[in-house]
């Protein structure tokens, strides 16, 4: 049978995948939790973030720190685009039904696809892994890519920052209250539109950041937006929409299901994810850590 270290190694690769998924899905979950918008364009900002990171990195050509600077810049640029999207589009649609909001974000997906096609010509690109995360570290004698550690580390930092933001600040109190009962928050005299803008911007920054981090991890190519968004929905749905611990658990489950699915039943690995997603929705529609909608 399979030895422990083989299984452990597969477990680690599942964790790396989970960290990446968490980076992307946390932003999606945040916007959903507060705005109640199923934001299809999140994946597009992730893709655009990766392409922008590449271009900034290419222009800067600064050794060692070039990638990190590019990451920060790309995330901020995605934040700016987030402001534009929220201010000019979504804000005008909060009074409408959620299907129209959803379709509006899908329209943004279509528009960003073509902007990337037009701007970068659809070539697949790659950024070498930045130092000091080029090689591997050894865990119980097994190599483990150090960049994966960086991704996991970043995921953890993001967890802590978001946790602090949501549970320890006044903004967080408002966020949680708004996720729970929007009318009450607005009745308390807190300007909802203002809150929504900032949450959406934060979500967009996270999308850009996760795209930037993916760039040295794999390749940057057209279609990566569509590829990730459904998997992120699975994560957010399993964990509970709008719940931070839920997103963490959801990414963990999806990452592990996929990693071990690949090892034991590769042809069904993808199907397993949707089965888990459907099962959770049937048994507990609001997800493992979510709260029933009021």
């Amino acid at each position: 049978m399979m030895s422990f270290d083989v299984l452990f190694n597969q477990f680690l690769s599942g964790i790396a995948r989970a960290a990446l998924l968490f980076l992307v899905a946390s932003g999606l979950s945040l916007t959903f939790g507060v705005l109640r918008v199923l934001n299809f364009s999140h994946g597009s900002l992730y893709m655009l973030g990766a392409f922008v990171t590449y271009s900034v990195w290419k222009v800067l050509l600064i050794p060692v720190v070039g990638f990190y600077i590019a990451t920060i810049l790309a995330s901020l640029i995605m934040g700016l685009i987030g402001i534009l999207i929220e201010f000019f589009l979504l804000r005008r649609l909060y009074a409408r039904g959620w299907p129209e909001q959803l379709l509006a974000t899908y329209a943004i997906v279509l528009i960003i696809t073509d902007i990337v096609k037009w701007g970068w010509g659809g070539e697949f690109l790659s950024i070498p892994r930045p130092p000091p995360f080029k090689g591997a570290v050894f865990l119980f004698g097994f190599p483990f890519p150090s960049y994966n550690f960086f991704v996991i580390l970043l995921g953890l930092i993001l967890v802590i920052v978001l946790w602090w933001l949501v549970y320890k600040t006044r903004l967080g109190d408002i966020i949680r209250a708004a996720a729970h009962d929007r009318e009450m928050v607005s009745a308390l005299g807190i300007p909802i539109p203002w809150l929504f803008t900032w949450i959406f911007v934060l979500g967009s920054i996270i999308a850009g950041l996760s795209g930037a981090v993916t760039a040295p991890f794999g390749s940057i190519a057209l279609g990566m937006d569509i590829e990730i968004i459904v998997e992120c929905f699975a994560v957010v749905v399993i964990g509970g929409m709008g719940s931070l611990p839920g997103t963490l658990l959801g990414s963990f489950i999806v990452g592990q299901v996929y990693a071990f699915g690949i090892m034991f039943k590769p042809e069904l690995a993808l199907a397993f994810i949707f089965m888990v997603m459907a099962a959770v929705l049937i048994i507990r529609p609001w997800g493992i850590f979510g709260r029933p909608e009021r």
């Binding site: 109640r36 199923l38 589009l89 005008r92 649609l93 409408r96 959620w98 299907p99 129209e100 959803l102 379709l103 509006a104 899908y106 329209a107 943004i108 997906v109 279509l110 528009i111 696809t113 073509d114 902007i115 096609k117 037009w118 569509i226 459904v230 929905f233 699975a234 749905v237 929409m241 042809e267 069904l268 993808l270 199907a271 949707f274 089965m275 997603m277 459907a278 929705l281 049937i282 529609p285 609001w286 909608e293």
Partner: protein, 323 residues
């Protein structure tokens, strides 16, 4: 006198039908092809809108039924040399059967949860067809699905599609205006109240879900022999998004809204691909413009305007009478 008012009221419909019937003699083969596509996709969109416009539930997995109908026809006809007409029936049957299973779980949920669960089931069915290479042909799909000799020409198949489309539209129209359709609408407006009235919501919605799946399956089944092939991309959530766009463009609250939306989308798409491959950005812009400028969709907006105008006229009349 009565006849005349009937003619006045339904004249546009007769004109439309006559237009469709003589179309193959007037316009070129390519536009007949596009008309066929528009009609089949409209049927698909109508099936979606039975859930969305009348039941108030957005399904993001409708393409799974569309694709299943298509796959049933393709596999029966190419692998078992099944009769064309029987295959069509089998396609509708398979779609309704799967619709029954999926619907059983989905109709208990509301709003966004319903949308996400249908998305999950749709993707699950897609992945199974995609991965089950030995049985379904996997990603390559199935080619060489030919209709019988007498339906091979574009014109002959056009009449078949038109007939199926017209008949289905009529059936759906009768359905949404029947007590059943009214109940669906009532449940959308006020679910607690209808529950209180002793109407079992889940059962009604399940029936509607299966009917919608059956018509989506019919659309897929009739489509595949026309293009001679089927592929897993027919089942993806991107395909499921097409009727959503069509319904919101045309107006989900008007019976023919999704049809108008689909006709516009199909024709503009076919037209624009003729000179650029930057189609998505144009479609995206159109969606945004419709959402912002014509809330309620094109027909929904027009209906609203018409109603306002009538109301004003009525008020004027009332004012005159009382004055």
């Amino acid at each position: 006198m009565k006849n005349r008012s009937w003619l006045k009221k339904n004249g546009w419909l007769i004109l439309l039908i006559v237009g469709f019937l003589i179309a193959p003699f007037v316009i070129s083969k390519f536009y007949i092809t596009i008309l066929c596509e528009a009609m089949v996709m409209s049927l698909f969109a109508l099936s979606f809108n039975l859930l969305f416009g009348y039941m108030g539930q957005l399904s993001f997995g409708q393409a799974a039924f569309y694709g299943l109908g298509g796959y049933a026809v393709a596999m029966l006809m190419t692998k078992l040399q099944f009769n064309f007409w029987l295959s069509l029936v089998a396609g509708v049957g398979l779609a309704s059967l799967v619709g029954l299973i999926v619907g059983y779980f989905c109709v208990r949920l509301r709003g966004i949860y319903f949308a996400v669960l249908t998305l999950a089931f749709g993707q699950l069915i897609f992945v199974i067809i995609f991965k089950w290479h030995d049985f379904t042909g996997g990603d390559d799909g199935i080619q060489g699905v030919f209709p019988p000799e007498y339906l091979k020409s574009i014109e002959a198949y056009y009449y078949l599609i038109f007939f199926v489309f017209a008949l289905s539209t009529l059936v759906l129209w009768r359905l949404v205006n029947s007590p059943f359709g009214q109940t669906l609408k009532a449940m959308r407006e006020n679910s607690e109240r209808t529950e209180f009235l002793g109407i079992h919501i889940a059962r009604y919605q399940l029936i509607a879900f299966v009917i919608a799946a059956a018509f989506a399956g019919l659309a897929g089944a009739i489509w595949v022999p026309f293009y001679r092939s089927v592929a897993p991309s027919y089942l993806t959530w991107i395909k499921s998004g097409e009727p959503v766009m069509a319904a919101i463009l045309g107006g989900p609250n008007v019976f023919l809204g999704p049809v108008l939306g689909m006709f516009i989308m199909t024709f503009i798409h076919a037209y624009i691909l003729g000179f650029t491959h930057f189609w998505p950005i144009i479609m995206g812009t159109i969606i945004l413009i419709i959402i912002f400028v014509l809330p309620g969709g094109i027909l929904g907006f027009a209906k609203e305007k018409l109603k306002e105008k009538r109301d004003i006229q009525n008020q004027e009349q009332v004012g005159r009478r009382s004055g």
